[in-house]
C-alpha cells in the first residue's frame, strides 16, 4: 500500500479505468496540455490522445448533453467541470436528460456517465466558485451522488462510478485534494451506497462526508482528550444513502451531530436528520438531532469570513460538546 494524495487517487483511478475500457473517454475544458484546472489529467493527453481526452469549448450545457448522447450510443463518457458551481449551466442535461432518459424511454437505453468536479470552499475563489450543491442531485431520481473524504474511498468509489451503468455525480473537495492516505496497489472498487464508520465510538455520532469529514475526525480527537468517545460516520455516497449504518450508529450513541460544508438549510443534513427522526433510532435519542452546516450566505471572498461561514474543527468540537451537556 502506498501513501498518496486524494488528487493522485483520482488521477490513478481515471488512468487505470481509461486503460481498462476503450469505451471510456473524457470531455471537459483544458484537460489536455493544461491537465485540467487542478492538474488531474496531467500526462493523459500523451497517453490517450485527443480522441479520448477531449478539450471542449466552455459549454458545460452543450458538452454534458453530448455526453448523454454518446452514452446512449454505447460509450462511457466522463465529464469534468472545473468548478462544481458550473453545474448550474448543465442542470437540464443532468436532471431532465441524463437522469430521466432511461426511465422515459421505458428502459431502452442506459446512461453510463460520470460527472466529476472539484467542489467546496477554502480556495478564496468567492461565491461563484466555492459552493457545495450536492444536495440538489440527491433529490433527483435516476442520479447517484458520491462525495468521498479519503484517497482510498476516492479511488474505489470513482472506479465504481465509472463502471456503473447510471449517471453518477462525483464531487471532489478542492482543499481535500491534498489529504493523504493509504491506497492498495491492486485494482479494487468500493460499492456505491455504503457508508463507512471511520472511527468507532459510543458517546456521540458525528455524521459527515467529503472534506468536512476530515475536520470531524480531528474534532473527535479533541473530544477524546476530554474523555469523550465519538463515532464518526462517513456517508461517502449521498444517493443512494446508507440509512442502515446511520440508524445503527444513532441507536448506539443516542446523540447525533450532522455536519457538512453545504448550506445547512435544505442541505444533506436535513435528509440525514429526516431519516433518523423517522426511524426506530428516534426512540433511542437522548438529545435533539443536531445539524451543523454552512451558514445561509454565499461564500464571501475575504478569507477570514470564508473560513467563518463553514464548519471548522473547533466549531464542530464545540457543537459536539454542547450536545453532550
Amino acid at each position: 500500500m502506498a501513501v498518496i494524495t486524494f488528487k493522485q487517487a483520482i488521477t490513478d483511478a481515471l488512468r487505470e479505468e481509461m486503460r481498462r475500457d476503450e469505451k471510456i473517454f473524457m470531455m471537459g475544458e483544458d484537460m489536455g496540455i493544461y491537465g485540467g484546472c487542478f492538474g488531474i489529467t496531467n500526462g493523459f493527453l500523451e497517453e490517450f490522445g485527443e480522441e479520448r481526452l477531449m478539450d471542449t469549448p466552455i459549454v458545460e450545457s452543450g458538452f454534458t448533453s453530448m455526453a448523454v448522447g454518446a452514452a446512449m450510443a454505447g460509450y462511457r463518457p466522463i465529464v469534468e467541470y472545473m468548478f462544481s458551481d458550473f453545474v448550474t449551466i448543465a442542470m437540464d442535461a443532468l436532471v431532465n436528460q441524463a437522469a430521466k432518459q432511461r426511465f422515459m424511454l421505458g428502459g431502452q437505453v442506459k446512461i453510463p456517465m460520470v460527472v466529476r468536479t472539484p467542489t467546496g470552499s477554502g480556495s478564496g475563489a468567492a461565491a461563484q466558485h466555492s459552493q457545495s450543491l450536492e444536495a440538489w442531485f440527491c433529490h433527483v431520481p435516476g442520479l447517484k451522488v458520491i462525495m468521498p473524504s479519503t484517497p482510498y474511498d476516492a479511488k474505489g468509489l470513482l472506479k465504481a462510478a465509472i463502471r456503473d451503468d447510471n449517471p453518477v455525480l462525483f464531487f471532489e473537495h478542492k482543499i481535500g485534494y491534498s489529504v493523504k492516505g493509504e491506497v492498495p496497489d491492486d485494482d479494487y472498487v468500493i460499492p456505491i451506497g455504503k457508508a463507512d464508520v471511520k472511527r468507532a465510538g459510543k458517546d456521540i455520532t458525528i455524521i459527515s462526508y467529503s472534506y468536512t469529514l476530515q475536520k470531524a475526525l480531528k474534532a473527535a480527537e479533541m473530544l477524546e482528550k476530554d474523555g469523550i468517545d465519538a463515532e464518526v460516520v462517513d456517508l461517502r455516497t449521498l444517493s443512494p444513502l446508507d440509512t442502515q449504518t446511520i440508524i445503527e450508529s444513532a441507536k448506539k450513541t443516542g446523540r447525533v451531530l450532522i455536519t457538512h460544508e453545504g448550506v445547512q438549510n435544505y442541505g444533506v443534513g436535513a435528509e440525514v436528520a429526516g431519516v433518523i427522526g423517522d426511524s426506530e433510532a428516534f426512540f433511542y435519542l437522548d438529545r435533539p438531532i443536531k445539524r451543523f452546516g454552512g451558514d445561509f450566505i454565499p461564500i464571501p471572498y475575504s478569507p477570514e469570513l470564508e473560513a467563518q461561514v463553514v464548519p471548522q474543527v473547533e466549531t464542530i468540537y464545540e457543537k459536539a460538546k454542547e450536545l453532550l451537556k
Binding site: 450545457s61 452543450g62 448522447g69 454518446a70 432511461r102 426511465f103 424511454l105 428502459g107 437505453v109 447517484k144
Partner: protein, 318 residues
C-alpha cells in the same frame, strides 16, 4: 428525382400513416380518450418522410417534441406508438414517456424530447459516438424554428463543425414556436443563414416538397459520411393544427392556413405518383391499408395492459 415504384408506394404509405395517425390522435384527444397533451405534425409529413428516405435504415435519427411523423417515417410500428400515447405496456416506452418521448432504439430512432433545445447536443453526442464507431453511419436531427434560438443549438453546431461530426441538422421552420411567429423570435430571415456562424453549409429547402428534402438531405448525408462534417438544413413548412390540444390559433389568420394547406406535401406527392403512372385506385388502396392498420392499432392499444408500479420503479436505474 425518380423513385422505384416500391419506394414510392412505401413513402406514400408513410405519408398517409403519419397524417392518419395525427388525425386519429387529435380526435381521441377531443373525445378524452388520451390524456395529457401532444404536438401534432399534420402538414409537416413531407419533411420527415423526405429526410428519412434520403438516409439509410441503419443511419440514426433524433426527433423533437413534434415527432410522430419522424417516427412513422423511421419505421416505428403505429401500434406501439398508439400504446405509448395511451400509456400502455406494449408502448415503445412502456407508457412511461408518452407522446413527447417516443423512441425506438432498435430502428435507430433515438427519439423525441420534451425540453426545447437539449436534443440538439444529445444528437450531436450520438454523432460523436458514430464517429468513434467508424462504421460510416450518420444521424439526422430534427428540431423547430423556435428551438434554433436556444443556446445549445449554438454550442452543438460549433462543436459538430470543429470535430467534423457526421450529423445533418434539419430545422423544421413551421413559421411558429407555439404562438410566436418566427419573425418575432429569429433575428435573420433564414435560419439556414446561421450556418455561416459555424462555417458549415446552410441550405433552405421547401419542406413540403418531398423530393427537394430528399435531395438536400441526401447531399448533406453524403457530406457527413465522407467526414466533411455537418450541414444545417432549413425546411420551410407549416403546422396545420394548433400547437397543442388547447390552441385556438388566434395568432394567425385562416387565410394563411388555407394558403399553406394548398401546398400540402402529401397532395404533391400523390401528383407525382399519378404522373408516374399510378392509378387513383391504387393510391386509395394504400390509404385504406394505412387506415385499417390504424384502427387495428387503436383497438389493440385500448385493450393493452398497464405496467405495474413495481415495474416502473425498476426502470429508474440500470
Amino acid at each position: 428525382m425518380k423513385l422505384s415504384k416500391e419506394t414510392a408506394r412505401d413513402m406514400l404509405y408513410k405519408l398517409y400513416s403519419a397524417r392518419i395517425f395525427e388525425e386519429r390522435v387529435n380526435e381521441m384527444f377531443m373525445r378524452g380518450m388520451i390524456h395529457g397533451t401532444t404536438h401534432l405534425s399534420v402538414g409537416q409529413e413531407g419533411v420527415a418522410v423526405g429526410a428519412i428516405y434520403a438516409t439509410n435504415k441503419d443511419d440514426l435519427m433524433m426527433s423533437s417534441h413534434r415527432g410522430h411523423s419522424h417516427c412513422i417515417a423511421k419505421e416505428a410500428d403505429v401500434k406501439k406508438m398508439m400504446c405509448e400515447l395511451l400509456g400502455r405496456e406494449p408502448g415503445f416506452c412502456k407508457g412511461m414517456g408518452g407522446s413527447m418521448h417516443i423512441v425506438d432504439i432498435e430502428s435507430n430512432n433515438y427519439g423525441a424530447n420534451g425540453i426545447i433545445g437539449p436534443a440538439i447536443p444529445i444528437a450531436t453526442g450520438v454523432a460523436l459516438a458514430l464517429k468513434k464507431d467508424k462504421e460510416n453511419k450518420i444521424i439526422i436531427d430534427f428540431f423547430g424554428d423556435g428551438t434554433s434560438n436556444t443556446g445549445v443549438f449554438h454550442e452543438a453546431l460549433n462543436m459538430a463543425q470543429l470535430w467534423k461530426l457526421p450529423i445533418v441538422y434539419i430545422c423544421e421552420n413551421n413559421q411558429y414556436g407555439m404562438s410566436t411567429s418566427v419573425e418575432k423570435t429569429v433575428s435573420v430571415p433564414n435560419i439556414a443563414d446561421r450556418a455561416v456562424a459555424y462555417g458549415m453549409p446552410g441550405v433552405v429547402v421547401d419542406g413540403n416538397d418531398v423530393f427537394a428534402m430528399m435531395e438536400a438531405v441526401g447531399e448533406a448525408a453524403e457530406r457527413a459520411r465522407r467526414g466533411d462534417g455537418p450541414t444545417l438544413i432549413e425546411a420551410k413548412t407549416y403546422r396545420w393544427l394548433g400547437h397543442s390540444k388547447s390552441d385556438k390559433r388566434a395568432y394567425r389568420t385562416r387565410e394563411e392556413e388555407a394558403e399553406w394547406k394548398a401546398k400540402c406535401p402529401i397532395m404533391r406527392f400523390e401528383q407525382y405518383m399519378l404522373k408516374d403512372g399510378f392509378k387513383d385506385d391504387e393510391l386509395k388502396a394504400i390509404y385504406k391499408q394505412a387506415e385499417d392498420y390504424m384502427e387495428e392499432a387503436v383497438e389493440y392499444a385500448m385493450a393493452a395492459p398497464i405496467v405495474s408500479l413495481d415495474e416502473a420503479k425498476s426502470l429508474v436505474y440500470a
